[in-house]
Symmetry: C2
Subunit: 293 residues, 2 copies
């Protein structure tokens, strides 16, 4: 009999829970709004209780404490999301289920999902997944493992060139002002242009500026980690006119320095949209559940 796994993608706005074995083999999926932690987590647990699961993969917004040696291991740490700071979601699931359960950030799970399920990615030693939406983050998969260290990566907060003469917008990150997320997240674009970014015409200068910030960030990720592919997901990247702009600017900025045939090309197979579409995070949680050791 095929084993069943539970997977959860918990965002600041909604939670998605599903049960299945692989992409295309999802038995049931439910979605509900993120309210209080007690209500939201109970709803998820009650859903999973209906199935004879082999393991559960949780992928949630962060920051998370993923250090097994820490007393708050498994918790959401300091989040602006009201009521959710210091909620130990992993512990609540362990109380409810006598099963292997694993917790990752949503972006790390999406990175793992794109690596695990997509044959063309699975052969790579090193891959990065960026989400560029309400927030910005990047997960790294090296030799089949999600990269952790002191904490999990927080690449949305990298520091970028910002020419205030060309763009006086000060950024909206409450911690860093004009870090990557402060300049280029969806909410940053909305604030900057005083309208919903997705309604801006495709030839509006906002897109060129957005592509510039994203390209700078990609160059930094490229020179620091040297990934073999970069996947760009998240709501902002649904504006697909950004892809050719970003690829062009990355090539221009790298300026022939990286000694790889990839950089003699168009980057069309190097900087790519998610093969799993909006399912990367959810299917990543499923892949994590399947690979718990």
């Amino acid at each position: 009999m095929t084993k069943l796994y539970g997977c959860l993608e918990g965002g600041g706005t909604k939670f998605v829970c599903a049960v299945g074995s692989r992409p295309g083999q999802i038995l049931e999926e439910i979605r509900f709004p993120t309210t209080t932690p007690a209500e939201t987590i109970t709803r998820a647990i009650n859903f999973f209780k209906n199935y004879p699961l082999s393991a559960i993969g949780l992928a949630t917004f962060g920051p998370l404490d993923l250090n097994p040696a820490s007393p708050s291991y498994g918790s959401i740490t300091a989040t602006p999301k009201n009521g959710w700071s210091n909620i130990n979601i992993l512990e609540e699931f362990h109380h409810a289920f006598d099963l292997p359960i694993t917790l990752e950030t949503d972006v790390n799970a999406a990175a793992f999902g794109e690596w695990f399920w997509v044959p063309d990615n699975h052969k790579l030693d090193s891959m990065v997944y960026f989400t560029i939406g309400t927030g910005i983050g990047a997960g790294i998969v090296i030799k089949g493992k999600v990269v952790h260290g002191l904490t999990h990566p927080e690449a949305g907060h990298m520091r970028l060139p910002h020419d205030r003469k060309k763009d006086p917008f000060p950024g909206i990150c409450p911690f860093h002002g004009d870090c990557f997320e402060g300049l280029a997240s969806g909410p940053a674009m909305n604030r900057h242009w005083r309208q919903a970014a997705e309604l801006l015409p495709k030839d509006h200068p906002a897109w060129d500026l957005e592509a510039t910030y994203i390209a700078n960030a990609l160059v930094n990720e490229i020179v620091i980690v040297s990934p073999q592919r970069i996947v760009l997901g998240g709501g902002v990247m649904e504006n697909i006119q950004l892809f050719p702009l970003i690829r062009h600017k990355v090539l221009e900025m790298v300026n022939g320095y990286i000694a790889s045939p990839v950089f003699s090309g168009t980057l069309v197979e190097y900087i790519v949209p998610p093969a799993l579409g909006k399912q990367s995070g959810m299917l990543g949680a499923l892949a994590l559940a399947r690979t718990i050791k």
Copy 2:
């Protein structure tokens, strides 16, 4: 009988070759200037021929082709160092010796050396070594392995905030102008201040500006990779007044965002000088020779 290993650190100015088994157990070491590839490599090979070696570790300036599937695997690629482009140093050593031989960049070897030989580093899952000197680079060791991907990391070429009102210096990188290396390498400092940087008084504003660029780069490495320790080596970092300036600026820039007890402290054990001093690269090549699989 203790096995003997050969190790080589090849820089743009000088080559150092040594034979030994571990730190403190070096039988002989020679140093000679980097001249033509033929002369320099022959001299190194002749030295190693005097010993019954078990393996050889080569750590040289880059960029290097370290992709085993590439036809130019083992070569120095496009270097400004006259005559050295497309020299396949690994192949020349394989012709001369029927032994396991490994090649790494000098900065990756130094990162591995600091991880392998220093007990307090060896327990870490994730560590970064920066060299900040004639050039700038950073090697990453994750779970005991040097990180490679598309090529090797080239973190000297990351893009940083550069306030041209405060610092109109345009940078000296021939590829990128004001990338990290263009702004903050030893030669960049010399050009900027029109004198040898190490002769600038310790309270000269040059050091504060230098610490600002380095701190920006460290913040980017921290948010992208989340290393558990950062070692700063290279000639510029011999100006040890930089360490407290950098630690202070990194804390200020991170501004409480990283949820780790390390960032509630002074970073005095997080951002550190090399425990192996100027020997990190050489002893890293030795460690690589010992661990060839």
